[in-house]
């Protein structure tokens, strides 16, 4: 066997927080052979990004390698100074960053940013570099290259920006590419094309890839070997097929069971009343004015209609820009539609304004995608949950406190958390607080706008279980907005598939997923990662022993 390309040996990394050193990576060892794809999998806080940053010498200023070696082609680079690392970064090891939106310089053309990496490493004169830039852009599918090279980042979509970053990463034909969550900010169909592109380039040049991802589905489809991290320690590592077929650690088993996938349909529920609709949407159309032109506008929603039965879950799925969020915001009354009718609980929402609209808020509540932004950082958890009660008829302080405690119990949070501020809670705990705030007014309808997309799979599974329980106990109606078809299939009764403002598919989950009407729906379903995920025991694992259980 040849020497490994990258060998990480007993690596420990700590961050300086205040005066203390907090160790986040504890003795991690793994190796990458030439041409191999190794996936580093784990939830946030598992140390996967920190490990990847250390390989590139890009640890944050307060980070420090305590001990261990990072051997690249047999040379230990762990203690190299930045200046020395400059010589190998880009040329031998390169990075595909996580967020294409903020990784390009907004005031320079993509051509010049791509040329920069070639200039730094002095690869040829200006003419040769220019030719190579056009060649690279063509290779990553940005054509016509002459036109693209002159464009600025804001003229490109997220997927195209990620292609530019990939072109920069492969420009010098490095031996190893570190891809840090390269597609987590992208839609599924785009994600699939980007991952295909990385695969192709890798095969052409025999490059190795260290793929950092939280998505077990992506890792299962694309990697040769898996390294599962938890709390800075390796739980297990080995060939993908072996781990998926027979995971040895309990943690890997949990990750596998929590990952949403198409193979897990929700258990069928009792028959619902047929003609009692909580939400009726007819011909919903929304135009946004475009800045600059008075008569110009952009049609975000175009004649969308659907009905939601009381006590059921309806999902709106689509990629970014499909109009799903616009639809959700119209239904809770934050946007006035240009045309169409929205009837919520028998009340026509589109005609309401001012005080009557405010009164309707009791019946319909919204839970946001980002639990970090939707809670006021200055309020305690108690104040957050109490606030909606203060907005309507006054009730005594003692009654309010009782209701808040009741709500905390329902969402499965300990009472001790009431005095905490949101920053002292994890993402999943914050989302529980947001759900408690939404439910404290006893609404009948909950609109969930990508409410689980920002959470790790394990936390996501817990929140979904909580939502399911609450629906059973309180008879809630959910409108579930998501880009994730696997999650949608797991929890919804009916679905609307949106594409460019139009509803391209709609109906019960079974009809849409098994016999989709539109090509777009088929494309969406095909793009879901996780084809290689095992089927049998995941179904068993979604049993109610989940940690999100109610204390009732």
């Amino acid at each position: 066997m040849t020497a490994p390309l990258l060998e990480i040996d007993d690596l420990a990394i700590s961050y300086k927080i205040g005066v203390h050193d907090q160790r986040v990576v504890h003795g991690v060892s793994f190796r990458i052979e030439p041409g191999e794809v190794v996936a580093l999998v784990g939830e946030s806080g598992s140390g996967k990004t920190t490990t990847a940053q250390a390989v590139l010498g890009l640890l944050a200023g307060n980070g420090r390698i305590e001990h261990g070696a990072i051997r690249l082609n047999g040379t230990d680079i762990a203690q190299w100074p930045q200046r020395r690392l400059d010589g190998i970064r880009g040329a031998v090891v390169s990075l595909i960053p996580q967020d294409p939106g903020s990784s390009l310089n907004p005031v320079r053309t993509i051509g010049s940013q791509l040329a920069e990496v070639l200039q730094i490493h002095k690869r040829g004169d200006r003419k040769a570099i220019q030719a190579r830039v056009l060649d690279l852009l063509t290779r990553v599918g940005l054509t016509p290259a002459e036109m693209r090279a002159k464009q600025y980042p804001h003229e490109l979509s997220g997927g195209m920006k990620q292609r530019v970053l990939i072109a920069i990463a492969v420009a010098l034909s490095p031996k190893l590419i570190v891809a840090d969550e390269p597609t987590s900010a992208l839609d599924v169909t785009v994600q699939r094309r980007i991952l295909d592109l990385i695969d192709d380039l890798r095969r052409e040049n025999g490059t190795s890839v260290l793929l950092v991802t939280h998505d077990l589905g992506v890792a299962a489809d694309r990697a040769d070997r898996l390294v599962v991290l938890q709390g800075g320690r390796i739980q297990e590592q080995g060939p993908v097929k072996e781990i998926l077929a027979a995971p040895r650690s309990a943690y890997t088993r949990r990750l596998l069971s929590d990952a949403p996938s198409l193979t897990k349909a929700r258990p069928a529920r009792g028959t619902l009343p047929t003609e009692d609709f909580a939400i009726v949407v007819e011909g919903l159309t929304h135009d946004f004015p475009i800045a600059g032109g008075k008569s110009k506008s952009f049609r975000a929603l175009d004649g969308v209609s659907f009905k939601v039965r009381r006590g059921s879950t309806h999902a709106i799925v689509g990629e970014s820009g499909s109009g799903k969020t616009t639809a959700a915001r119209s239904i809770v009354g934050f946007l006035k539609p240009t045309a169409g009718r929205i009837v919520v609980d028998g009340i026509e929402l589109t005609k309401l304004k001012g005080e009557s609209l405010r009164q309707l808020r009791r019946h319909i509540q919204l839970v946001y995608q980002n639990p970090y932004g939707s809670l006021d950082p200055r309020q305690t958890v108690f104040k957050v949950i109490e606030e909606p009660l203060l907005n309507f008829e006054p009730i005594a302080a003692a009654d309010r406190a009782r209701k808040v405690r009741d709500m905390m119990r329902r969402v499965g949070l300990p009472e001790a958390f009431l005095v905490r501020h949101p920053r002292a809670l994890s993402g999943g705990q914050r989302q529980r607080v947001a759900i408690a705030r939404a439910l404290v007014l006893d609404p009948r309808i909950l609109v969930l706008d990508e409410a689980v997309s920002a959470l790790d799979v394990t936390v996501q599974a817990q929140i979904l279980a909580l939502l399911d329980e609450l629906q059973k106990v309180l008879g809630l109606t959910y409108l579930f907005v998501s880009h994730d078809l696997a999650v949608v299939q797991q929890i919804s009764d009916s679905v609307s598939v949106m594409h460019k403002g139009r509803q391209v598919d709609g109906g019960s989950i079974e009809t849409v997923f098994v016999r989709p009407d539109s090509d777009h729906t088929r494309e969406l379903i095909d793009a879901i990662p996780g084809r290689n995920m095992p089927v049998p025991w995941t179904v068993l694992a979604s049993s109610p022993d989940s940690r999100a259980g109610l204390s009732q």
Binding site: G47, A60, S102, L441
Partner: protein
């Protein structure tokens, strides 16, 4: 670099536990030296303003005949002026005038500016446009010229000078408050507060105002320093309090006549003004950091 975000959230998880509120004394001990020094300067000057007679045995306004223009000695720490008045005593008694002037100036600017910025930022539309264009035109006029015109309208005197200086800072406060309010208003938690049935004023009071105030308070501390400077400038030019008053700007102006013979008459009050302004700046910076 984008992966920075992930590592920050990693840290947030590690930190998980709530930090206990530290007592004032331990916080003072832990503070950086420059900040502790800044607070010390401010506290001493505040004490001068509150109880000047505790710090000096001399009068702030009456001189001792025969002791004119003495250089600094043990008896007169900072020397005496042309009328035999102890300079240290004049500076100590002057603190009250200069500080109260600065306080009034900052209050005027803070209250009016916050009100304008809050209304402009939260209402938006034409009202926002009108208020902010007015603010722009205020900023276009040089501040010294503007305060001079206001003093000419109001008449001379310490309080009038303070009001004039405060009126000039209204524009800066209004701009900052508006930008903060616009930022906070766009956040999800404000929309969520409306979504849970909050009225406009309730949301403004519970969320928008508290979350906008950190940088406003930092600006107030900064303005406190520059107000002292501006009031001293106007005092120096003769628009402030009438002569026997030991206001700091006036002290510097009076010392100017003896610059060649008695350097301490301009240097000492000048250094005090500089120290207080620097201290206010340092404190302002720490407030801003704690909010970020």
């Amino acid at each position: 670099m984008s992966s920075q975000e992930t590592s920050e959230s990693d840290l947030a998880l590690i930190e998980g536990h709530e930090t206990l509120p530290a007592s004032w004394i331990t916080r003072f001990k832990r503070a950086p030296k420059s900040l502790a020094l800044a607070w010390l300067v401010v506290l001493i000057v505040l004490a001068w303003a509150a109880l000047p007679e505790l710090f000096t045995g001399y009068s702030g306004t009456e001189g001792v005949p025969g002791e004119q223009l003495r250089p600094p000695t043990l008896e007169h720490v900072l020397g005496t002026d042309g009328l035999g008045r102890d300079l240290y005593a004049r500076i100590v008694y002057g603190a009250r005038h200069s500080l109260s002037g600065a306080f009034v100036a900052v209050t005027v600017g803070l209250l009016l500016g916050t009100l304008l910025g809050l209304v402009a930022g939260s209402r938006g539309g034409w009202l926002d446009a009108v208020i902010m264009r007015l603010v722009d035109s205020l900023l276009a006029v040089p501040s010294l010229l503007l305060s001079l015109s206001i003093i000419v309208l109001l008449g001379f005197g310490t309080i009038n000078v303070a009001i004039a200086v405060g009126a000039v800072s209204v524009a800066r406060f209004a701009r900052l408050v508006r930008s903060e309010v616009v930022r906070v208003r766009r956040s999800d938690y404000v929309e969520a507060a409306f979504g849970s049935g909050g009225t406009f004023w309730a949301v403004l009071r519970r969320h928008v105002l508290p979350n906008s105030l950190t940088s406003v308070i930092a600006l107030a501390a900064l303005q406190f320093g520059s107000a002292i400077l501006a009031i001293s400038t106007l005092g120096f030019l003769g628009y402030g309090a009438p002569p026997p008053t030991p206001e700091w700007g006036l002290l510097i102006a009076e010392g100017r006549n003896y610059l060649s013979r008695a350097w301490w008459l301009t240097a000492a009050p000048g250094i005090v003004v500089v120290l207080v302004v620097l201290a206010a700046d340092r404190i302002s910076k720490s407030i801003q950091r704690s909010g970020a």
